[in-house]
């Protein structure tokens, strides 16, 4: 895989990139090229003279990455050189490498290739190697992560690696084989945490997160239809008049059924494509998630970076006993929230969440309720929202001379809905503190339980708005570098909030708590 003639251990991308690269460039160039050829077509044979240009240029451009990219692993760092005109040299210290992800599109998989993305540090920049052979990519991944594990020792109390002055990072027990040695370290044992169970597919239609995508696609499609001009206003109006005379209710029913069937099909297919062969394993201090039917992804999270999990039960999914699970980690991609399970039975999500956290059972402990004052706050907040809408209804009734029944109906519906929402919100509200995790329950129509490692808390905010202050409540916010960067415990009696913060991070605010001073 590496050039045996290169004494410095520099390696290149896979040779098959000479095939894929031009194809990818061609794909990007196809539309402008066709337009250009058609545009020049009026000048006859002249355009054919440009045809070679449209083939040669993409081939050269596509071959460039292979020609100019090389990388190597030294004792302490990963180096990547690339670029022809503007040369780029990327260096990542091995102990800073947080994640190594593999991704193969369908084309990549046919040719046995995988794209490698290396995540470093707390920022979002990732080093991309597009692409290596699958075996080479897997081996590179193994070596990088194991080297990182070796060089990251010892770990300080925050779980962050510390520099060890004067010692080689590889000196503690792990031999450093030549980087071009194909017989890299033997793979350590893996522990399987979760595997796809196709009976879970029954939850797919109840998860509406994809519905927005479908709606967007339908919107784009309808724009297209406009362009065809078949559906000009008159045909639509005439057709509609004719049909609605006959059977309006039937049309509605048929459309609803068609929509439902389409949704069943789309959601199930989407679920299968995304989570095909899902496998979640723990190996050598990492969590690795692989899934995907056409494009296979392999995401690796360093366990020390995983600061907690979030268990989400959207309303519809909860009705059928389903839940979703995500990890909250620091320094990982977008938002630090990584979905690690598809919609699946809540018991599965809970137990996988437990085994990811390894320690005490923060997903199982009962949450402490926040009391009647918090409940009243839920109701007041919801009714305030309803009030705005009701005021708008009254205003427009007066303005447009609508039926006076309108605001009455709107008010009845909204107030009823607000009461239900408030009760739902209060039922989901709660907190708990386990041995090592702070747990918060939240959400109105989507129940969410978030568990954050107390060690991951890097500060506290006690927030009180005007109304909260009057009834002695506070919103306690634990700031963290993981996930959404904060964990909110809403409407907690102030003294309890401070006590909770103090108990979660002993010592952090002891000196500021007045009651502790004699």
């Amino acid at each position: 895989m590496s050039d045996p003639n290169d004494p410095d251990g520099w390696q290149k991308l896979d040779k098959k990139m000479l095939l894929i690269g031009p194809l990818q460039v061609l794909r990007a160039f196809a539309v402008p090229a066709v337009v250009a050829i058609l545009g020049l077509g009026s000048t006859g044979i002249f355009s054919l003279m440009f045809l070679p240009l449209f083939i040669v240029v993409p081939v050269l451009l596509g071959a460039l990455p292979w020609l100019t990219t090389r990388f190597r692993i030294t004792e302490t760092k990963f180096e990547l050189h690339k670029g022809l005109v503007s040369k780029k040299q990327l260096t990542a210290p091995l102990e800073r490498i947080r994640s190594v992800d593999l991704e193969s599109s369908l084309l990549h998989r046919v040719l046995g290739l995988a794209k490698v993305e290396i995540g470093t540090g707390v920022d979002d920049t990732r080093i991309t190697l597009d692409s290596l052979s699958q075996s080479q990519a897997a081996a590179l991944r193994g070596v990088l992560l194991r080297r990182r594990a070796a060089s990251a020792e010892p770990v300080d109390e925050t779980g962050a690696p510390m520099e060890v002055p004067g010692t080689s990072p590889l000196s503690d027990g792990i031999d450093a084989p030549a980087p071009n040695d194909p017989a890299w370290l033997p793979a350590p044992p893996e522990q399987v945490l979760a595997r796809i169970d196709w009976s879970w597919v029954r939850f797919a239609p109840f998860s509406l997160t994809k519905l927005a995508l479908v709606a967007g696609a339908v919107g784009v499609f309808s724009q297209f239809i406009d362009d065809f001009g078949i559906f000009d206003q008159n045909t639509v109006r005439n057709g509609w008049a004719r049909v609605s005379d006959v059977a309006l209710p039937w049309i509605v029913v048929v459309l609803l059924i068609a929509g439902l069937v389409a949704w069943l099909f789309i959601s199930t297919a989407g679920y299968a494509v995304q989570w095909w062969n899902l496998l979640l394993v723990r190996e050598a201090g990492n969590l690795r998630l692989t899934a995907g039917l056409f494009t296979t992804r392999s995401t690796t999270l360093e366990e020390a970076r995983v600061r907690g999990v979030a268990l989400t039960e959207p309303w519809l999914l909860r009705r059928v006993g389903g839940a979703e699970l995500a990890t909250l980690a620091t320094g990982v991609g977008s938002g630090g929230v990584t979905s690690i399970l598809p919609p699946c039975p809540v018991a599965v999500a809970t137990s996988v969440g437990q085994s990811v956290l390894k320690s005490d059972p923060p997903l199982l402990v009962p949450l402490l309720a926040h009391g009647q004052a918090a409940r009243r706050r839920c109701h007041l907040r919801m009714q305030r929202m309803a009030l705005v809408a009701i005021a708008a209804a009254i205003g427009s009734t007066i303005g447009f001379n609508w039926s006076p029944w309108l605001p009455v109906v709107v008010a009845a519906v909204l107030i009823g809905f607000a009461v239900l929402s408030a009760e739902a919100q209060y039922a989901n509200l709660g907190h708990a503190l386990t041995q090592s995790h702070l747990v918060a329950g939240s959400g109105v129509w989507q129940r969410c339980r978030t568990a954050l490692e107390c060690d991951g808390v890097i500060g506290w905010v006690v927030h009180q708005n005007f109304f909260q202050r009057r009834v002695g409540l506070a919103t306690l916010i634990a700031t963290t570098a993981a996930g959404a960067e904060k964990l909110e415990v809403r409407d907690l009696p102030l003294t309890q909030a401070v006590a909770l913060a103090d108990a979660a991070t002993p010592g952090m605010l002891t000196e500021f708590a007045s009651s502790s001073a004699p």
């Binding site: 925050t158 009647q372 500060g459 905010v461 506070a474 700031t479």
Partner: protein
């Protein structure tokens, strides 16, 4: 939980006050800021008076705006000065801020990543500076508004020195 209401008296003492107040010149600074707002409002009102007809609700809006600016000018600065407090201990930064809402923020020094100071043109006039202490969390920055400039400089130097000594990446 009927005790929630009874706790109200005890709430203010759940966390004690941070030790220090901000610079007394902050009151004047906030007042000048509000005054600028007032001047802008008066000019805007005059322009509207000459350019547009004035129905009754325009007066109502103007009255509310003027009332707000006057509160901002006469009451808020002193209130804010009473509430804004800060403290830096050997281990943590602790602040209290806000006047309608109230916020107490604590960040342990071993998790602090950057210490910045900021001085706007108007602040320079009053020789004031603000300090912002950030941690690895986007939700965690702590700002101490309107400190005496020299004090702020000293504090930044001291905090930078203390946080630089911490190992690891503070997450």
């Amino acid at each position: 939980m009927t005790s929630a209401r009874n706790d109200t008296e005890a709430t203010e003492s759940a966390l004690r006050e941070p030790a220090h107040q901000v610079s007394p010149r902050a009151i004047a600074y906030w007042q000048v800021g509000a005054l600028v707002g007032l001047v802008v409002l008066v000019i805007a009102a005059l322009v509207c008076w000459f350019l547009f007809p004035h129905p009754w609700w325009a007066f109502a809006i103007a009255a509310v705006l003027f009332g707000w600016v006057l509160v901002d000018l006469l009451i808020v600065p002193k209130l804010r000065y009473r509430i804004h407090r800060w403290e830096v201990t050997p281990t943590a930064v602790f602040t209290r801020s806000g006047w309608l809402m109230r916020e107490q923020r604590i960040a342990p020094l071993n998790r602090v990543q950057t210490v910045d100071s900021h001085q706007g043109p108007l602040m320079r006039l009053f020789n004031l500076s603000s300090i912002t202490v950030t941690t690895a969390s986007a939700a965690g920055p702590i700002t101490i508004d309107c400190l005496d400039h020299e004090l702020a400089q000293r504090l930044v130097a001291e905090l930078t020195e203390r946080t630089a000594a911490v190992e690891g990446d503070a997450t």
